[in-house]
Amino acid sequence: MADASPIGIFIAGVLTLGIFSFLYKDNPVYKVCEAIFIGVSAAYWAVEYFYSALYKKFWLGVIPPEGSGADPDMWLWGGAILGVLMLCRMIPKINWLSRWPLAFIVGATAGLYMMTFFVSNAMNQIASTMQPLIQDTFLATLGSFTVAIGTVTGLIYFFFSKEHKGIFGGAAKVGIWFLMVTFGASFGYTVMSRMSLLIGRLDFLFSSWATNFGQMF
């Protein structure tokens, strides 16, 4: 936004204040901002996807521009066919056909995610936990024990088919505490990030917008 026009900066500032007005209560200014936001952003993404997916990926994929040397990728037609089936929803007689692409996507997501998360989340995380427990210093040893115990008790908390009673219940309690430490840490870290967003906005209002405002009037 560094080189935005004065009018652009002016509008940006007004819209910023409009959104902030929601903090007081819902009001017509916020409603206008919301309405503009929905309309403009929905179209923004429609255009972005149209050019990046339909034009760049699909169209240039099946009909490569001359001289690019690429072979037409006939597989891409499959996606287009599924896409057209999706549109069958609009025709009542054959709208059940739209379940095919939906079924495809659900199956594909299930299959892909299962593997990606299994490898990255489960295997790699377990593997990284396999550290020697005894380390050079007392603190490092304490740390590796903490990680091992926390991981195991945390998993115990998630057990569904065993009642949290006795030793098992105690371990589950320790587990939930570890989860709470994690949440606390995430919260503590998040505060910083969120505050910086506001600071960025205020900085814009006080410097760019105010200066611009002074120059405009």
């Binding site: 997501t109 299930a110 489960a122 091992a148 195991v152 998993l155 569904f160 088919s161 995430s186 998040t190």
Partner: protein, 424 residues
């Protein structure tokens, strides 16, 4: 080859060859331009004055477990790289196709590097490689030629065999318990407060005569969390239909809208109230994350839902939604597998499903034996994971002093294997 050792090689490389790339660029530009002129005989006859010792033992092997498009070239470092003149700046790799004497240069690497991966080859083709060392002043050793190598396609990635075995083990136990549960076996399930509250929350909205808001996360159907949200939506919508209440589902993605409409209509049909289903209550807003949030905030303050469900993938908007929901006095039930957002839901909502609980929720709510069985299968997975963590840590403690990485993970599993099976 482990990632760690690769890393340490490149470190050393950086330290020892600070200027090599620059010089190489200046040198190799004309070299690369000549391209096919460089043949084995040319360079051998060149006998440049002060040319460095050539690398030795050049090996070219088909890259394992791929579709036959890569060859791994390796060699022993030139004598002048590690000792001797110590003037080697790097190595140049050449390739020839199927016995032709024409060697083309295909790439170069820093000094102290002894491998190169040639990618983008043709399957079933036979190649031959040669490697030369070169110095900072631009002198090139004679190239050492490898044996011929033919690229092959393989049908199973043996590097992933442990992933496969574990997947079969865990997936198998999930399926086993699904099957087992079918036979009408009773099983214990611990209580999850958030799920027990679902019916009460819907009832409350009905009593108050206010709608229910359901947000299936802000991702599209290509996120498994959204699918989890939809499976829960099915159960919620069925109860909403039975209570003759009303449910709003604004979505951030068009596909998610379509899926939600299918889901809700089916739920109304199961409840025998398909006439009460309103497609327009399930609608697409915008793909823009915060545009969507602005709209949902508006819906909340204007329609004042008595109950809000946030089940799916959530990011920064989690707290905006939860605090706005709180300001209108709604009962809020949330669930996500985004660890960073869980603290906000835990703090600001009445009930929160943590990570794995989100995926178990629809099974819980369905109460079907088959679905509940799968949860028991998950627990078996947890036992395996815990055992791996503990045994792995013990083995690591007894074994090496170095930290373990993915490669030694497989080693550790070999260890477990030998404990139980006695084999290698």
């Amino acid at each position: 080859m482990s990632r760690l050792s690769r890393l340490s090689i490149s470190r050393k490389t950086f330290l020892t060859s600070l200027l090599s790339l620059l010089v190489f660029a200046a040198y190799s530009a004309p070299l690369l331009a000549q391209d096919s002129d460089i043949s084995v005989t040319d360079s051998t006859s060149a006998e440049l004055e002060g040319a460095p010792a050539a690398p030795t033992n050049v090996l070219a092997v088909d890259h394992k477990y791929d579709i036959g498009e890569a060859v791994d070239v390796s060699w022993d470092l030139s004598f002048d790289d590690t000792a001797g003149m110590r003037n080697v700046a790097g190595y140049i790799i050449y390739r020839s196709v199927a016995g032709s004497a024409e060697f083309d240069s295909i790439g170069a690497v820093f000094s102290l590097t002894s491998s190169f991966a040639d990618i983008g080859l043709t399957r079933g083709e036979t190649y031959q490689y040669s490697v030369s060392s070169y110095t900072l002043s631009g002198q090139v050793s004679e190239p050492i030629v490898s044996a011929e190598v033919t690229t092959e396609r393989e049908w199973f990635d043996w590097d992933e065999v442990w992933v496969f075995i574990l997947l079969v083990l865990i997936g198998g136990s999930v399926m086993y318990f699904i099957y087992h549960a079918r036979k009408g076996k009773q099983m214990f399930l611990r209580k999850i407060a958030g799920l027990q509250a679902v019916e009460e929350a819907i009832g409350r909205a009905t009593e108050m005569g206010r709608p229910i808001l359901f947000i299936p996360g802000i991702h599209d159907m290509d996120d498994v969390q959204t699918i989890a949200g939809m499976t829960i939506l099915a159960k919620v919508a069925k109860q909403v239909a039975e209570y003759e209440s009303r449910i709003f589902v604004p979505t951030r993605a068009s596909l998610a809208m379509t899926a939600a409409r299918e889901t809700v209509r089916e739920a109304y049909m199961t409840a025998g109230r398909v006439d009460a289903y309103r497609a327009d209550d399930i609608y697409y807003v915008t793909d823009e994350q915060f545009g969507y949030v602005a709209a949902v905030n508006g819906i909340m303050t204007r329609d004042k839902p008595a109950t809000c469900f946030y089940l799916g993938a959530f990011f920064a908007e989690s707290l905006i939604l939860a605090e706005t929901g709180n300001s209108i006095g709604a009962i809020q039930i949330a669930g996500t597998a985004q660890p960073a957002q869980l603290p906000f839901f835990v703090a600001a909502c009445d009930y929160t499903l943590i990570g794995e609980e989100l995926f178990a929720a629809s099974a819980y709510l369905s109460g079907e034996a088959k679905q509940l069985g799968s949860l028991k299968g998950q627990d078996v997975g947890k036992v395996i994971a815990m055992a791996a963590v503990l045994i792995g840590a013990v083995l690591a403690t007894l074994g090496s002093e170095e930290g373990m990485n993915i490669e030694t993970f497989r080693g550790a599993f070999h260890g477990i294997w030998s404990v139980f099976g006695g084999g290698q």
